[in-house]
Amino acid sequence: MQYAIARRARMLAAAGVLLAFAAVASAQQTPAIPPNQVVIDNFAFAPATLTVAPGTQVVWINHDDEPHTVTSVDGGRTFKSPALGTDDKFTFTFAKPGTYKYFCSIHRYMAGTIEVK
């Protein structure tokens, strides 16, 4: 059952129906996507830009069968995850305000941004 829900959630998220997803998820009494989470689904970071307050711990979770990384564009000096396999998570706490761009070092066209303000 849990698997079915996860599958359904992934399909909906992939379709970009994030609001509908949150509604369905809460209707099924599973937690909605937390505001500090970035989901990797079908070779994309969602949301592509996430805005958080300073001091927030951001969590990335990989829902693809393919591994991905979360690597800051300064060559991973600010933050750099190891290879994230299916359902692996990576966390990083953004202490200072700023715009933090990152990409997947395996699939270099996959890009995302964390706005801290």
């Binding site: 069968d65 591994p67 991973g76 190891p82 290879a83 990409f103 070092s105 270099r108 066209y109």
Partner: protein, 312 residues
């Protein structure tokens, strides 16, 4: 008649029979820029070339992968090697065009090395992006690095009159489209090719395709055009790539680009699926979408390439 046979075996009746014997097992002849080439249709191995040599290419073995698309890539790699061992002629060497491992883990590299050793072939490797995760390829180059390789991992060697250039286009430290070679490597390539006569056949190895097949999925190398500019003057250039787990071919002037099948799992055709990820096929169809490549070279014929699947 007999003299015609040796000059152009397909141009005479007796020669045609020889050609048909070959074509009947799945090779289609085409003539590109005066260089005859055979493209395997998935059924056969090449005959041993006269006055030449042959080698095999495998790619994208992804040891460590365990999702539904292939729960056991170790077994399919072994099947690929068995197939190579069964070729009617012994290849002079093997080329592995990257993604030896799935997640750059030490135990994945160990397992791959163990299985590949069974081929008993001198093997030349280049890394795929799955081989350099987290350590910029340190482990990979430590185990599979080429002889005399530059600090960046690229190298060249000669075999049977063919000059091989092994490039590394998976160490991109910044966002981009797909692969990247970098200034240092392109300058090295210019120097490496400098003294070579234009009649030297060149084989270029690179993991990510060196021509833009489908940039939306990263199937391109950002700065490949610069590298190709140095290769233009040569009469025969063959580029062997991996990465996309399927055979795609393109000829541009005297340069022929060829991507190879994986031994682990197939990937969707460009733009034909949700993304460039593993494609699940029915278990009994898997062998038909995995494969090896057999390449023969002789001065008279140039390079002749045959792709075959594990099912054929």
């Amino acid at each position: 008649m007999d003299s015609h046979d040796t000059e152009n075996p397909c141009g005479t009746r007796r020669g045609l029979l020889k050609c048909m014997a070959w074509a009947g097992t799945g090779i289609v002849w085409s003539v590109v820029g005066g260089v005859p080439r055979g493209l395997g249709l998935g059924g056969t191995a090449l005959a041993a070339p006269v006055d030449g040599f042959s080698f095999v290419q495998i790619s994208d073995t992804h040891i460590g992968f365990k999702a539904e698309a292939n729960p056991d890539p170790k077994a399919t790699l072994q099947q690929a090697l068995d197939r190579i061992a069964g070729l009617p002629h012994k290849p002079a060497m093997m080329i592995h065009t990257g993604d030896v491992s799935h997640l750059s883990k030490a135990e994945e590299f160990d397992t791959a090395a163990q299985i590949l050793k069974g081929a008993k072939l001198d093997t030349h490797f280049i890394p795929g992006e799955h081989d350099v995760i987290g350590d910029d390829g340190k482990q990979f180059f430590g185990r599979f690095g080429g002889k005399g390789a530059a600090p960046g991992g690229w190298y060249s060697f000669d075999e049977g009159g063919v000059h091989f250039v092994a490039l590394v286009n998976v160490l991109g430290f910044t966002p981009g489209t797909g692969g990247t070679l970098g200034k240092e490597q392109i300058e090295w390539l210019e120097r490496d090719l400098k003294g070579k006569s234009a009649s030297t056949p060149i084989v270029v190895l690179g993991h990510v395709p060196l021509w833009p097949i489908y940039p939306q999925w990263g199937w391109a190398t950002d700065d490949a055009a610069q590298a190709m500019a140095y290769l233009k003057r040569f009469g025969s250039v063959t580029v062997l790539n991996g990465h996309i787990h399927q055979v795609v071919q393109k000829v541009e002037g005297k340069v022929s680009f060829q991507t190879a099948r994986s031994t682990a799992f197939p990937i969707f055709a460009a733009g034909q699926g949700p993304g460039p990820g593993p494609m699940k096929v029915p278990a009994d169809h898997l062998k038909a979408v995995l494969g090896i490549r057999d390449i023969a070279y002789a001065p008279a014929t140039g390079l002749v390439i045959a792709d075959s699947t594990l099912a054929s």
